[in-house]
Symmetry: C2
């Protein structure tokens, strides 16, 4: 059981790469993404796997329950979730006392990069790295469950850098 509080941003440039680790390859699919709950299957480097159940978002906050499962189960469950799978490489870096995760999307979402930071509470102060762009926390086009149903990268807002 847990609660996830997370802010999400587009990135302005590649400066984050200097501080980031090599990252891990993520494949994930959705068995459900309705009003009540999202059910996600995810594998890391095709070695480790989990299913994650998330409640409806309220602002940047949502209930989250994650359970590790056997990788063989995950491969079967990803087949059930087809064609709604997402592939991305997740890099991590430390900045301002927080861990930032930078997701570099692959396949049909190639070109999309999203930086996420997980917080203890919604109004926590966050020191922004210089490469951080527009915040998309509340923009449901950038929810991974939405991306899983889309054919490409959402068009950037015209006022975004």
């Amino acid at each position: 059981m847990g609660t996830e509080i997370e802010r999400k941003f587009l990135v302005r440039n590649d400066d984050w790469r200097k501080a980031a680790n090599e990252g891990r390859s993520i494949r994930q699919g959705y068995l459900s993404s309705n009003a009540k709950a999202t059910v996600r299957v995810r594998t890391w480097d095709d070695e480790k796997a989990a299913i994650t159940l998330k409640g409806k978002s309220v602002g940047a906050t949502r209930a989250e329950f994650e359970y590790e499962i056997p990788i063989d189960d995950a491969r079967e469950l990803l087949k059930l979730s087809r064609p709604h799978t997402i592939e991305k490489r997740r890099h991590e870096l430390e900045f301002g006392g927080l861990t930032w995760e930078i997701d570099v999307f692959e396949g049909r979402h190639e070109g999309l990069i999203i930086a996420e930071v997980e917080l203890e509470h919604e109004d926590q102060a966050v020191e922004m790295p210089s490469w951080i762009g527009e915040e998309v926390t509340l923009d449901d086009r950038y929810f991974n469950a939405s991306l899983s149903r889309s054919d490409g990268v959402p068009p950037a807002d015209t006022d975004a850098s």
Copy 2:
């Protein structure tokens, strides 16, 4: 990982009670029941809990993945599944070398009793107890996920006993 092969029947009378155990109280809710997969949260006697992911049925067969989870998580997840929860008492008995499960529904489905038997393969011979009524294996009104969305007991077919 597993495959579930299961046949389901209505019951003609209460004769099954003589051979059945006291059973366990089950509460279950659905976080998803779409074309791809059903995601169920279930508790037994409010002590043990699991989430179960099932693929689409093909005849009496479907993929099934079940993972035990903490009871506290299950209580929270059942809240997310509201109002689509089902309460029933599941009794078991042995007959003809097979284990029969008899679900006695409670609450808004009171009056409904369904007997299930799990098989090794679809064309396995099954010795039918005398109290077995109409088969409802393929009748989606009796899928628990359908019942979770309904307000009562499905009307019996007019040619049913």
